[in-house]
Symmetry: C2
Subunit: 270 residues, 2 copies
């Protein structure tokens, strides 16, 4: 099926999920929307995140998407159920695939989760993990400074090491052996986080797991694009609610994700 897959995020971070989808599903067409005008979602209430997410879903539907991936952990945590009630096409968040991987990995049954304030407060990872295995102990910690530090480019800085050390300090008191990086920006801090938490702890990147699950899901539903890459060049269309130039340069510089064109959408009108 040639229709594109819709992917959305509160901003530019969701491009990490796009990159994984491109890698694992190289024949698929993609439409990306980044809500750069209203970013970040991580400190907003459930009501507001649901309202914004539904506007975006309505916009993506005008692009005839065959499935939607919510690349934002916060929107996955707060809006997935409401969106599924509203539309008929498959909708996937990043939380479930990440939780599944962590649950399959752990031997101590102690799993750590780091994310934005809203993702952590939602308790959504706990919910999924306990559905998979009620014996799992979940230790969670909000890390509000990680996104600004990544956006300032301080990925391997002494200040970042200091802050990572403080946020992860509590987690280290539990015997976790898997840590879910519950925000699209966090994999960029992977080295510092790994150093701090220790090499015995597996870092789970929901972007990677989501692309894997998406491939399975599209296969099951007979929605995979069956044209070979030789027959067609896949199309990637990018839309944002603000700041095209900033979006493009951030995608290039920070995420090494080449975007040559993006269009502004008046998202409040959807």
């Amino acid at each position: 099926m040639n229709a594109p897959i819709g992917v959305f995020d509160s901003g530019v971070g969701g491009l990490t999920v796009v990159k994984e989808i491109m890698r694992q599903l190289p024949g698929e067409n993609l439409v990306y929307f980044g809500d750069t005008a209203r970013v970040p979602y991580g400190s907003k209430s459930k009501n507001t995140v649901c309202k914004y997410s539904k506007q975006i879903v309505r916009f993506l539907q005008t692009k005839q998407v065959k499935a939607i991936v919510i690349a934002c952990n916060t929107a996955s945590a707060l809006a997935l159920d409401e969106i599924r009630e509203e539309i008929d096409i498959p909708v996937m968040g990043v939380v479930e695939p990440g939780a599944m991987m962590a649950a399959n990995t752990t031997r101590t049954n102690n799993i750590g989760i780091i994310g934005t304030e809203s993702t952590i407060k939602s308790g959504i990872y706990n919910k999924f993990l306990h559905k998979i295995n009620p014996d799992i102990t979940v230790v969670s910690k909000a890390c509000p400074l990680f996104v600004p530090l990544v956006e300032e480019g301080l990925w391997e800085d002494r200040v970042t090491e200091d802050i990572v050390g403080r946020y992860l300090h509590e987690l280290k008191e539990y015997e976790i052996d898997a840590l879910i990086l519950g925000c699209t920006h966090y994999p960029l801090l992977r080295r510092v986080i790994g150093q701090e938490i220790g090499e015995d702890v597996k870092l789970v990147n929901p972007a990677y797991e989501t692309a894997k699950s998406l491939k399975l899901l599209l296969g099951e539903k007979n929605l995979l694009n069956t044209m070979s890459i030789e027959e067609h060049e896949p199309t990637y269309d990018y839309f944002v609610s603000d700041g095209v130039d900033k979006f493009i340069s951030f995608a290039d510089d920070v995420l090494s994700c080449h975007v040559d064109h993006a269009e502004i959408v008046d998202i409040e009108s959807y």
Copy 2:
């Protein structure tokens, strides 16, 4: 005149301006709007900030305000002119009073400005300063990590000292003797900033200067509330676009500004 003064900001930071107005104009009624759903403005484009600001002005007009204070540096920088064109009541931003004070203070004619990315990129402080005195040299620096650090409560932390040191490093190469704290959150870092930049540099807080200018302006226009505080208890009404509880606790804990009630407004509908 009993009508209230409208004050708005991208979030909670504008309450620092409210506090100054309460102190310097204790007889005035106030209506505050904080755009907590769409905060921060500092990384958004001019178009988006203008659109959001105009929605807020339309909301404030439904409260019959007699004047409007834009407590947000970014919105003052990007939207003041457009708002003034649209409405008849006096509108004041925080930029002009801050610039005026700095220009009156400096002896070296070298003035530093720190603020959000959008405020700095707008060049608005330069414009006002050069209008006052074309000989002034303006040195400006965006400090994107200051707001998240303040919001994490790290006002006097070693990490904050480290980051402040890096941001102000360049400014120290110029002989500035006045530094404008061009963002509502920055006065909370006053001690660390002062330590880093040196005691010979006067720190200018636009919130304080704005309240002073507002008093003068209302006097000139015959708009001061002439009822004495003995005759009436002034009313303070607070509105936000998201997260009432978070707004109230931040106001209390961080700004020591007591807010006992706030109401949610669907600001996109204005």
